[in-house]
Symmetry: C2
Subunit: 151 residues, 2 copies
Amino acid sequence: MTLDHARLHAAQALDLARRAAALGEVPVGAIVVHQGRVVGQGHNQPRALHDPTAHAEIMAIRAACIALGTDRLTGCELWVTLEPCAMCAGAIAHARIARLYYAASDPKGGAVEHGPRLFHQPTVLHKPEVYAGVGESEAAALLKEFFARRR
Amino acid sequence: MTLDHARLHAAQALDLARRAAALGEVPVGAIVVHQGRVVGQGHNQPRALHDPTAHAEIMAIRAACIALGTDRLTGCELWVTLEPCAMCAGAIAHARIARLYYAASDPKGGAVEHGPRLFHQPTVLHKPEVYAGVGESEAAALLKEFFARRR
């Protein structure tokens, strides 16, 4: 993993977050990377799909699993613009994601370094390596702008 | 809610769990009930679908949301044969399920009365009423038999 690769993947996830914002959905984007290649991507779209589980991470994981023909993403990375919630952190564990990179922290809804801190629970079935803060400022600014406009 | 209704819904969820077992998937079944009517159902099928998020609860919630044309299941009940994991408990909160009924406890993977006890977290965005143990013995026996056969 070079700094260029990190910037590239953070930017790819951010592009997907911008796509969500353009569609009126909370701007969060995610990609799944396998051996340097994007094998799944997604953005928040619970409203458009009438699906409360349609968070960026879930969409990206489901797409990657279909692409790779498996329900285990062993060795894969997940890049997402916001700290995952409990639902998504649980999905990351079920999918056996090897490394999780997220940009902005979410003290209200996050479940990785906030709230239940899921990967620190003794009963968690799989714990990825976690890297926070790559591309944080852009991802946080996008969310802030989105919620400011909705008020 | 009469005792007959409780027995009926627990039996409906158990039938779906049996369907999962017949397909070689971990036997968990779930239904979503709206005003006494089943509006969504699902069983575990992560292997068949290549989808680690395809737990019974997620399948039932997604089906109910499509059926009702919404991403909020306000006023709905979820009946499931096993204590939900963190992913599914998170989905239940996102879907705004009013009442959760589960049959068997899951000390290893459960996240309602075990592990992160998600609905007791101060940051949880929605907390359903929770009723445990309806139809517990049949649901637990089905799981026990399934895992005994796999050994």
